[in-house]
């Protein structure tokens, strides 16, 4: 390009006119024909929060397997980060445009996604929430998920039993404010342990976004604040492993009880190695498989799945306690994800 001033001045207008003409031509084409009919070849959409978290990777794997079995085609998409509502809205719209029979979604924002889901349902698309419910829950046709309150409650009961009546000083490493999954697990844990949210036994509460390095920082800060803490509840295993690193640095990893939720393979191995005392294992594979099957059924006979299906949760530990039914890490590793 030369130093001639403003060769662009006229060009953009030409481009603009061309684009306008193209748009008009396209408008005249009208809407394309939509496919449909039997289950064979029907499209199923899967939209996860991100496509990097092993939980969602496993979920997608389960969905792909189920899709092959049911003879349907799986298309998938994800937000760019946990909380990326706009990305999920775009994915819903594009999937509806591509003529999917049903959409399986783990909503990043339980409220903000609803208008997009309503539009999809209005076009006859079956919408099923996986893992996390929308608020209100009936904004989707059905929900296949872990009972997160129960997941928290199981490790709460376990921790209570493991403390054997000793005075507990609890740190909670939480998810983020206002996120339903985090609140449910946190409250479930407290219920299981038998303490109220404002109980002085809870000496420290920090948000970690479920991230290992943030979990470590949070644990370091909690140890600074309350050096004599002895029970750590963590939102998930990455946060628990971060906590373990911080505890080990202070030489407290042997006498502080760390409990967690998820049952990922890395997390379950950490239970086996004793870094985490116990974890509540959930089953993303099942959520996806049942979700795909439900859409295939809908494509076949027009019957929509409804209501809530609990995909189950199991307490995994190698140090079982009386009054807290559990499975060993051998079972956990057979059924883990990620």
């Amino acid at each position: 390009m030369s130093r001639t001033p403003h060769p662009l001045r006229s060009l953009p207008w030409k481009l603009c006119a061309c684009a306008g003409a193209a748009a008009l031509a396209l408008t005249a084409c009208g809407p394309g024909a939509q496919g449909g009919g039997s289950a064979a070849g029907a499209k199923v959409g899967l939209i996860t929060k991100t496509d990097t978290n092993p939980f969602f990777v496993k979920m997608k794997e389960g969905a792909e397997k189920a899709a092959r079995t049911a003879g349907v085609e799986l298309v998938s998409a994800a937000g760019k980060f946990d909380g990326d509502n706009a990305g999920q809205v775009t994915a819903v719209e594009n999937m509806v445009a591509s003529g999917v029979k049903g959409i399986l979604i783990t909503p990043s924002d339980s409220k903000a996604i609803i208008p997009a889901l309503e539009k999809a349902r209005a076009k006859g698309v079956l919408v099923i929430a996986l893992d996390s419910p929308t608020e209100p829950q009936n904004a989707t046709d059905a929900l296949f998920a872990t009972d997160n309150f129960k997941a928290g409650q199981l490790i709460g009961e376990y921790a209570k039993a493991a403390m054997k009546g000793k005075q507990a000083k609890i740190a909670t490493l939480d998810l983020a404010p206002g996120v339903a999954v985090g609140v449910q697990r946190h409250n479930g844990f407290l219920k299981g342990f038998g303490v109220a949210g404002n109980d002085p036994a809870v000496v420290c509460s920090q948000d970690t976004a479920g991230d290992q390095s943030k979990g470590q920082t949070a644990m370091e800060n909690c140890l600074q604040k309350a050096p004599d803490l002895n029970v750590v509840y963590t939102i998930n295993e990455p946060a628990a492993l971060g906590a373990h690193t911080a505890l080990k640095a202070k030489g407290r990893d042997k006498d502080v009880l760390v409990v967690s939720v998820d049952g990922g393979c890395t997390g379950t191995r950490a239970v086996k190695e004793g870094k985490i005392a116990a974890t509540s294992q959930q089953y993303p594979l099942k959520m996806a498989q049942q979700g795909v099957q439900a859409v295939a059924d809908y494509a076949k006979n027009g019957k929509k799945a409804t209501g809530y299906t609990d995909t189950g949760v199991t307490l995994i530990t190698d140090r079982p306690q009386d009054g807290a039914a559990s499975q060993t890490t051998a079972f956990g590793l057979e059924n883990c994800w990620g």
């Binding site: 760019k80 706009a86 924002d109």
Partner: protein
């Protein structure tokens, strides 16, 4: 000597101009992508789908207008997405839970965003500080304020005027949102302002060389502050479009929109070194991203490949810019 001077004054031929204009490459890429997806999927080539793509890019597109202005002055704005998120929370919360009537809430949101732009401009011009640092700081300030003010709650049940731009009207077989029209109108407005007014020439001059612009009588300080403020105002409009599109005030919104808007500007052929580019190129840039995202989804290709392709295209665009700058010298 005289011969060369003569050629330079006359400038390149029209054909050469078309080939070397910064928007030609991006436009070719967009048309190629459209052709590719039209052949590979049945659902791509329809008015409804094109309307959808424009809807999907209108928020980042509007942010990218402000970003283009700033990048033309050889600046950069990392705070745009966060400022927009704060603006959208202000509008949503004031209208839904505060006592302001919807239109007043919208006006306040626009003012707040323009205020952030003004603050950026003042810091860049008056202290002076590098735009990268100023807007990086402002990104964190706006992000934090968004979460503090919203108390991390999504705001729903918004009054109708806030989502009016998300409503559609039929054009032939196609439903078009009013918001898409707002975005397109803004692009045309700024294309005119940059291409055909003295103000526009001054913006290019400032980006090419602040010193010579100043010596030629451009009030560079006022211009810089004005550009950042105006960019802030476009983020406010983007905030309103965001609300109308999602129907809620979402405190998590816009976290990657700063980089997305910069990608769109670069994809559209505007030089990160300032002084060279066009705002309609930016429109092509956001459409390229939107077309790939939509088309690959229709083809059933996983979303991570959409990110991969955007990355490759951005690098390609910068390379082309760098090479053509070298040739120009």
């Amino acid at each position: 000597m005289t011969a060369t001077t003569y050629t330079e004054l006359k400038g390149p031929t029209t054909a050469r101009r078309l080939l070397t204009a910064p928007t030609t490459g991006p436009l070719a890429a967009l048309l190629l992508a459209c052709a590719f997806f039209s052949v590979t999927t049945d659902q791509f080539l329809s008015g409804g789908n094109f309307s959808l793509i424009v809807q999907q890019v209108m928020v980042v597109g509007t942010l990218a207008i402000g970003q283009t202005l700033i990048i033309l002055t050889a600046g950069i704005d990392l705070s745009c997405g966060a400022v927009m998120a704060f603006g959208s929370i202000v509008i949503a919360k004031m209208a839904a839970q505060g006592s302001l009537p919807p239109l007043a809430a919208i006006a306040l949101g626009l003012l707040v965003c323009a205020g952030f732009g003004l603050a950026n401009g003042l810091l860049v011009q008056m202290v002076p500080l590098p735009p990268f640092i100023v807007t990086l700081g402002m990104l964190n300030v706006a992000f934090a304020l968004t979460h503090i003010y919203s108390e991390d709650q999504t705001i729903s049940n918004l009054p109708a005027p806030l989502t009016a731009l998300g409503e559609t009207f039929p054009l032939g077989y196609t439903d078009i949102t009013y918001g898409s029209l707002v975005t397109i109108a803004l692009f045309l407005l700024f294309a005119y302002a940059l291409g055909s007014t003295a103000w526009g020439r001054h913006v290019y001059a400032l980006g090419n060389s602040p010193e010579s612009a100043r010596l030629n009588g451009v009030r560079t300080a006022r211009l810089t502050i004005g550009v950042y403020t105006l960019a802030g105002l476009t983020y406010g409009i983007a905030a309103l479009l965001l609300i109308s599109r999602t129907g809620v005030g979402d405190p998590q919104a816009g976290q990657t929109d700063n980089l997305d808007s910069i990608s769109a500007v670069v994809l559209g052929g505007t030089s990160l070194f300032g002084g060279r580019g066009a705002v309609l190129g930016t429109f092509i840039g956001v459409l390229i991203v939107g077309v790939f995202r939509n088309g690959l989804q229709l083809m059933g290709v996983s979303s991570v490949y959409q990110t991969l392709i955007t990355g490759v295209l951005v690098i390609l665009a910068v390379t082309v810019d760098q090479i053509s700058r070298k040739k120009a010298r």
